[in-house]
Subunit: 182 residues, 2 copies
Amino acid sequence: MSEFLAETTDLLRRTPNVIRALLSGLPESWGDTPDTEGGWRPRDVVGHLITAELDDWIPRAERILEHGTSVPFDKFDRFAHVSRDDDRTLDQLVDRFAQLRSESLARLDEIVSDADLDRHGMHNALGEVTMRELLATWAVHDLDHTSQIFAGMAGSRDADVGAWKHYLGILLRRDDPAAVPG
Amino acid sequence: MSEFLAETTDLLRRTPNVIRALLSGLPESWGDTPDTEGGWRPRDVVGHLITAELDDWIPRAERILEHGTSVPFDKFDRFAHVSRDDDRTLDQLVDRFAQLRSESLARLDEIVSDADLDRHGMHNALGEVTMRELLATWAVHDLDHTSQIFAGMAGSRDADVGAWKHYLGILLRRDDPAAVPG
């Protein structure tokens, strides 16, 4: 296995453990605030990651392998979690994500090898992409959304830090993305 | 114990586990990129968290308890890790942080109870602050810097995601903090 494939799957295997360490059994007061106004609470982020396991990464890898550039990817619903997850607890969502990620990685191992990394597919909006780009994006998408969870959690304590807010970029950026801490 | 104290220490206990899940045994290629130009690599962030355990949180809590507002906090060196940690591996730094955090929480439990939360201290630059604000800031500081680790890790894959970068805020914001993903 190439370094690229080994190191990408290394990261993908970490994410459920990171999210579990951060969210499993979390006191409710840490989880009820979105990352920005109108943004996502931790449970929304985990819901979105669940959707991506179901509809995005493996289905798109399969599309590349089966159809190359001739059939574009299906459009991905970034808000599919909104009503779907209403009756699930945060812990249930974390477990569900971990289970789906484990299945995705088993499937990835079955279907994608180094020889496939330069195969091309057709993104419905972005045009031609490669399997390598899809897998790198999967990993960075994990990092992007996991870090979004931290912003919501920090936001839940916005009123508690007093004058220190001046130094806390994660809070300042919720109000102004270009804010620079003092 | 009040909800505030219980929920704040709950978060503080999580951070070493989150950082371990994210960084322990990490392939080197994921760890060599700073969060922004001139910013911090994951190992720099962990070094800064180590400094804060040594010089910031518990020493300041003790200062409040011993001197109230009459003796201001000592200034905190945000770059103390820079030469100190050169000969330590990332895994060694993660272990060191976990050990120090465990000691900090044991000490916190010894010295701070609910009755102390409204005691006042004097920040060297910000003026009067409370014990409650110090502890809330400790937790948000964890979240702020842990999320910084994700930005560096994502940055290490900036060249690999191709056109998808357009959708990945965590990469776009490394170039322009106000960037909004497509």
